[in-house]
């Protein structure tokens, strides 16, 4: 290989990668505002779906899990706080799973929704199915645990996707409830126990 060849090859690669980079940045510049708007809309839809009976979602702040920022909201009906919705991330098999969990004012899980993830299609992506998500209704801290056997008391793992099931249950949702326990303690969470 002569010096001239090396220059030709280098020039070739540089040109192709520069053009490729320019095309990508052009597409990104045009697409990203729309993607951002779509995500905001998807978030609002998710909140509504999680607690349809609410009429206001008041953002309370942000917390950090896996070095990612996540939001949490107080769910209001009229003046009363009827529960909380909290965003969280779970470390799955091939991605961080972005999850919204709705809890009532006693911090019992009501419903969860998977906002985005990059788990294996056909295995890990079954975390989006209703049968898996419906299992979370009525679970408290102690019962957010994945079992590989048939169970209704705890959470039953998806066959072939135990890691993804654990990431949702024992990482994302459980940490959310734990965080809320610390944060909103003294409020409705405690009030609930007195009534019991």
């Amino acid at each position: 290989m002569t010096g001239k060849d090396i220059i030709k090859i280098t020039f070739n690669l540089v040109v192709v990668y520069l053009v490729g980079g320019l095309i990508l940045s052009f597409v990104y510049a045009n697409a990203s505002p729309r993607i951002f708007a779509n995500n905001v809309k998807a978030e609002q839809d998710t909140l509504k779906k999680l607690m349809p009976e609410a009429d206001k979602f008041e953002k309370m702040g942000e917390w950090t899990i896996h070095e990612k920022h996540a939001k949490y909201f107080a769910v209001k009906k009229g003046e009363e706080t009827i529960g909380y919705i909290i965003q969280s991330f779970g470390k799955g098999y091939s991605s961080y799973i972005n999850i919204f969990s709705a809890v009532d004012k006693y911090l019992i899980v009501q419903k969860i929704n998977v906002l985005s993830h990059g788990e294996t299609p056909g295995l890990g992506d079954e975390i989006e199915t209703d049968w898996f998500k419906d299992q979370f209704k009525g679970k408290d801290m102690e019962h957010l645990k994945v079992l590989k056997t048939d169970t209704t008391e705890y959470i039953q793992a998806i066959s072939g996707a135990t890691i993804s099931s654990r990431a949702v249950t024992e990482d994302a949702v459980k940490n959310s409830v734990e965080f809320l326990m610390k944060t909103v303690k003294g409020g409705h969470a405690d009030g609930g126990h007195k009534h019991n």
Partner: protein, 217 residues
């Protein structure tokens, strides 16, 4: 590979489906195929995503073929493949978010597909625009056919149901068997069994009825 001047487009299209079927003949891209074929819906979506990216990559490479230095062709092919995958997923996320929510996962997996790189190397870098496009369509259809067959078989035997995509936003699930099905077929090990059995069947049909010689290419 045939010379550039005498390519019969119909033969080239069928080549991708039968003679050089990515999965059943070349045994390429088996890893992602096994990972996603445990229900019919996934198989079809993945096949369609590959069909699109394969065709676009083939077209792009064939247009660039006189400019690419042979010694650095592989990094350039990789750039074209990952570029198309990224552009497709960004545009879908921006303009058709509902569709993207369903097929986004599949599109991102394609970056790692050996079959796409193989066609860029073996065909598109040596042939013109139209033959390369036809080759991409043929290979893509062959892949779609293979994934549909495998996922149909696996879901039916492994779960006793079929998940059919209707439109792009919803799906219908039909359940045929209520007894306990052979769960192993939808797990990774069953993927190997299914691919092996169907590969044997495909080659048997090919040798017996379609006239390929048993010690093919």
């Amino acid at each position: 590979m045939a010379g550039t001047s005498t390519i019969n487009l119909k033969d080239q299209f069928l080549n991708g489906i039968i003679k050089e079927n990515t999965i059943f003949k070349l045994a390429l891209s088996l890893c992602p195929s096994i990972a996603v074929t445990n229900n019919l819906k996934n198989g079809i979506y993945m096949g369609l995503a590959v069909l699109f990216v394969q065709t676009m990559v083939n077209i792009t490479i064939s247009m660039m073929r006189n400019f690419i230095q042979p010694k650095v062709r592989l990094p350039i092919f990789m750039l074209v493949i990952s570029g198309w995958v990224t552009i497709t997923s960004m545009l879908m996320a921006a303009f058709v978010p509902d569709v993207y929510a369903k097929v986004g996962l599949y599109i991102q997996l394609i970056v790692a597909f050996a079959s796409i790189l193989a066609r860029a190397e073996m065909f598109a870098s040596k042939n013109g625009f139209v033959p390369s496009m036809v080759d991409g369509l043929g290979m893509g259809c062959g892949f779609l056919f293979a994934l549909t067959t495998i996922s149909f078989f696996r879901e039916l035997v492994g779960k006793g149901s079929l998940t059919v995509p209707t439109g792009l936003a919803t799906q219908h699930v039909f359940t045929f068997i209520n007894a306990k099905p052979l769960l192993i077929m939808v797990l990774p090990a069953g993927g190997f069994l299914a691919v092996g059995l169907l590969m044997a069947a495909f080659n048997w049909v090919d040798v017996k009825y379609l006239g390929s010689k048993s010690h093919g290419h």
